[in-house]
C-alpha cells in the first residue's frame, strides 16, 4: 500500500452539503480537505493543494463533474489521481459510465455523514490493493 490517505480535494457547489461533508471527512475522518465550490475553483486550486484523492459532485452549475474531471486530467500531475464521483443518480448503468470516464468509484448521495469517511477509505484501499 502507498502512503496513507490524508489530502482530499472536494468539489461541491452546495454550501450545506459542503459543511456536513467537511465534518464527516475532517472531524470524523481526520483528512485534510480543500473544498471547492466549482470546477473552475478546483482547477485553480489543485496544483497548490496536491491532493491524493478527488471527490467530485456530478451535477454542478457551469462546469459539471465529468467536464471538471476531464479538465483536471489534462494537468499532467493529476492525470491519474483517483477520483470519486458523488451523485444522487445512481443507476447501475451510470456507475459504469462514470467509471469509463475515469472515476474509481461512485458514492451515492444522500450520503451518511457517519460512514462517509469509511466509504472513502475503502475505495482508497481498493484502488491501491
Amino acid at each position: 500500500m502507498n502512503a496513507p490517505l490524508t489530502r482530499i480535494l472536494y468539489v461541491e457547489d452546495e454550501p450545506d452539503i459542503q459543511m456536513i461533508a467537511r465534518l464527516a471527512l475532517e472531524t470524523l475522518g481526520g483528512f485534510t480537505l480543500e473544498v471547492c465550490s466549482s470546477g473552475k475553483e478546483a482547477l485553480a486550486k489543485i496544483t497548490a493543494f496536491q491532493p491524493q484523492l478527488i471527490l467530485l459532485d456530478v451535477m454542478m452549475p457551469g462546469m459539471d463533474g465529468p467536464t471538471t474531471l476531464s479538465k483536471l486530467r489534462e494537468l499532467p500531475a493529476f492525470s491519474t489521481t483517483p477520483t470519486i464521483f458523488m451523485t444522487a443518480k445512481v443507476q447501475p448503468g451510470e456507475v459504469m459510465g462514470y467509471k469509463q470516464i475515469g472515476a474509481v468509484d461512485v458514492i451515492p448521495k444522500p450520503f451518511d455523514p457517519m460512514t462517509l469517511s469509511n466509504q472513502v477509505l475503502e475505495i482508497w484501499a481498493h484502488c491501491h490493493g
Binding site: E14, D16, I20, T27, P61, P110, D112, M114, T115, N118
Partner: protein, 561 residues
C-alpha cells in the same frame, strides 16, 4: 480521532440549520414551477427547477429528512422525462407535478413520517421511545357514579385522578395541567360525539398530543375511527374491565426507561471502537471499549456488560480464544458474544460460533445492522433470564428467585445491622373465588394483587409469587412496625377493589404475616416465623396483618394449607 459526541452535536446543529432553510428552498421551487409558461417549452426554467429539486434529493436524507429525498427523487425523475422530450407538460402532467411539489411541504413537517428505508441512515435517529409520564389522570364522564368509582379504583393503584362530569369543566381545567392522560367518554347528554369533538379541539392547541383513552357504550367502527382521529391510544367498551384498563396504563407508564443496555467492545483499532461507540450511543446503548484484549478482564467484571462485541483478529489473543476465556467465567456463561470480522468464509464463522460466539457481523458493518443485532440479542437474553426467575402470570419473582433474594437480603442486613422484613401474604378463600367465578377470574385477582404490591412497594423491595395464591415480600431496611403499617394499608385498599366476572362484581381480601430479621436471624427461621404469623392472621378471622413475635409458642405452629 474527534470527540464523537461533539461531532454528533455538530451534525445535529447543521441539520437544524438545514431544516430552517427548507421552507424557503421549497417556496423557491414552487415559484420556479409557477413561472414556467404552460404554452411553450422553457429549457432554462426546467433546468433550474431540476437542479433545485436534485439538490434536495441529494441532501435531504443526509440531514435526517429521508422522506424528502425520496419525494424529491420522484419529482426529479418526472422532470427529467419531460426534459428528454422538451415538450411543455399537458394539463394532467401539470396537475400531477403540482401535487408532488406541494407535498414537499408535508414531508418536511414530519421528517420521520415515511422512512421506508433506514439502511445506512443512523446519523439522526428518532429519539428513543420513553414511557409517558403521567402526573394526573383526568376522567371525563357524565355518569357520576361510574366516574367516581373508576377514579377510586385507579387511586388504589397509585394513580392520581380527577373527575369531570361535564365537557366544559374539563376544557377549563385542561390548560393548567401537564403530563396528563385523559379517560374520556365518547357520548355526552345532547351531544353524541361530544367527547371526540372536544378532544379534537383540545389536541389542536397541544404541541404534543395528549394521550387519551376513549370509553364508549357502542363498539362500532365509526366510533373507533373518530377516536383514533382524536388521538386515542386505546378504546374500551363499557362495561369497563378495569383490570384491562390498568394493564394498558401500566404498559404506557412503565415502558421502563430501562437502564440502558451495556456493551463491551473489544477491538484493537481505536478508530473502529470509537465508531461502534458512536453508533451504539445514538441508539441509547452504553459501551466500554477495550483495545488490548489482554486487559479486558477488569472491565468485564466491573462494567458488567449485557453483550460483548469481539473483533476476530487481534494481536496477542484472537477473538475465539477470548470468547473461550469469557465462557469459562460462571457469571458470563450465557452472555451473548458477537464477533466482528472481515471473514466471509461460512466455515470459519461456524467454527467461531461453535466456540462460544452467538453471531457474526461481517465488516464493514452497516450501522443499523450493528444496532439491531446488538439490541435484539440483548433483549432476548434478558428476556430468557427473566423467564428463569419470573412467574409467568404475574411477572413477579418466582419461588426460587424470591428465596435466593431473601438469602442475600438477610446476609446483607446482618452485615449492616439494618432491619429487614419478610412478609407472607395469602388470599382469603381463594378456592371459593375459583369455584364461584371461574379460574380466569381467579387469575385476574392474582394479577391485581401482584400489580398492587408492585405499585405500592418501593423499587428496592422484592415481591414474589410464592405459590398458587401465596405471595412473599421482602422489605429491606424496614422495621416490622413500618412494614405492618404499609402492608395493612395495601390490605385495606385491596379489599376495596372491585373484581369482575361476567356481569358480577365481587371483592376479595388477604391475610398477611410479617417477621423481622432482627428477631429471626436466618432465612429459614424468618420464613417459618412469617408463615406462623400468617396462620395467626387466618386463625383470627382473616383480612388482617399480623407481626410475628419471637416468643411465639411452638404449639401455635401447625402449617396451614
Amino acid at each position: 480521532m474527534a470527540d464523537i459526541g461533539d461531532l454528533t452535536a455538530k451534525i445535529q446543529m447543521l441539520s437544524g440549520v438545514y431544516a430552517a432553510q427548507l421552507p424557503e428552498k421549497i417556496a423557491q421551487i414552487e415559484q420556479l414551477w409557477q413561472q414556467i409558461p404552460p404554452e411553450r417549452w422553457d429549457e432554462e426554467g426546467f433546468q433550474t427547477l431540476h437542479r433545485r429539486v436534485h439538490s434536495l434529493t441529494g441532501s435531504g436524507k443526509t440531514f435526517g429528512f429521508a422522506a424528502l429525498s425520496d419525494l424529491a427523487r420522484v419529482i426529479e425523475y418526472d422532470l427529467s422525462l419531460l426534459m428528454q422530450v422538451k415538450v411543455p407538460p399537458n394539463q394532467a402532467q401539470r396537475t400531477h407535478l403540482e401535487g408532488l411539489i406541494s407535498e414537499l411541504h408535508q414531508v418536511i413537517l414530519d421528517p420521520t413520517a415515511s422512512q421506508p428505508d433506514h439502511s445506512g441512515v443512523i446519523a439522526i435517529m428518532p429519539p428513543i421511545q420513553e414511557a409517558i409520564k403521567i402526573r394526573h389522570i383526568l376522567i371525563v364522564d357524565d355518569d357520576i357514579s361510574f366516574a367516581e368509582n373508576l377514579s377510586n379504583q385507579l387511586r388504589y393503584f397509585g394513580y392520581d385522578t380527577r373527575v369531570f362530569n361535564t365537557l366544559s369543566e374539563f376544557i377549563q381545567a385542561i390548560n393548567q395541567n401537564t403530563e396528563v392522560l385523559v379517560i374520556m367518554d365518547i357520548s355526552f347528554p345532547g351531544d353524541t360525539w361530544g367527547g371526540v369533538t372536544t378532544m379534537q379541539q383540545v389536541q389542536q392547541g397541544q404541541k404534543n398530543p395528549m394521550p387519551v383513552i376513549f370509553l364508549s357504550a357502542q363498539d362500532d367502527f365509526n366510533a373507533r375511527l373518530e377516536a383514533v382521529r382524536a388521538g386515542s391510544i386505546a378504546y374500551f367498551n363499557k362495561a369497563l374491565n378495569v383490570s384491562r384498563l390498568l394493564d394498558k396504563l401500566d404498559e404506557l407508564t412503565s415502558i421502563q426507561v430501562n437502564t440502558p443496555y451495556r456493551v463491551l467492545i473489544v477491538d484493537d483499532s481505536p478508530t473502529l471502537t470509537a465508531y461502534y461507540t458512536a453508533i451504539l450511543k445514538q441508539a441509547g446503548v452504553h459501551s466500554y471499549s477495550v483495545n488490548d484484549p489482554l486487559t479486558m478482564m477488569e472491565p468485564l467484571l466491573e462494567f458488567e456488560p449485557d453483550l460483548i462485541l469481539i473483533d476476530m483478529y487481534m494481536p496477542g489473543c484472537n477473538g475465539m480464544e477470548l470468547a473461550k476465556v469469557i465462557r469459562q467465567i460462571d457469571k458470563f456463561v450465557s452472555i451473548p458474544i458477537v464477533f466482528l470480522s472481515g471473514e466471509k468464509d461460512l466455515d470459519k464463522q461456524l467454527a467461531a460460533i461453535d466456540l462460544g460466539g452467538d453471531d457474526f457481523l461481517t465488516k464493514p458493518i452497516q450501522p443499523q445492522h450493528l444496532v439491531t443485532s446488538v439490541t435484539s440479542r440483548i433483549r432476548r437474553s434478558l428476556m430468557l433470564r427473566s423467564f428463569m426467575v419470573r412467574d409467568s402470570l404475574t411477572g413477579l419473582l418466582n419461588h426460587t428467585a424470591i428465596k435466593d433474594q431473601l438469602d442475600r437480603e438477610v446476609a446483607r442486613s446482618k452485615r449492616q445491622g439494618t432491619p429487614c422484613c419478610f412478609a407472607m401474604i395469602d388470599i382469603d378463600f381463594f378456592k371459593k373465588v375459583n369455584d364461584t367465578y371461574g379460574h380466569a377470574a381467579g387469575d385476574r385477582v392474582i394479577k391485581s394483587l401482584s400489580r398492587l404490591l408492585k405499585q405500592r412497594l418501593r423499587e428496592v423491595d422484592a415481591v414474589g409469587r410464592y405459590g398458587g395464591e401465596e405471595f412473599a415480600v421482602i422489605l429491606s431496611d424496614t422495621n416490622s412496625a413500618t412494614a405492618i403499617k404499609v402492608l395493612d394499608k395495601i390490605r385495606e385498599d385491596f379489599s376495596r377493589l372491585n373484581h369482575f366476572a361476567d356481569k358480577t362484581e365481587f371483592s376479595v381480601t388477604f391475610s398477611c404475616g410479617v417477621a423481622d430479621v432482627l428477631n429471626f436471624n436466618d432465612a429459614t427461621r424468618l420464613c417459618n416465623a412469617a408463615d406462623k404469623a400468617l396462620y395467626q392472621a387466618k386463625h383470627h378471622g382473616r383480612n388482617q396483618v399480623v407481626g410475628a413475635h419471637p416468643e411465639l409458642p411452638p404449639s401455635l405452629a401447625p402449617k396451614i394449607g
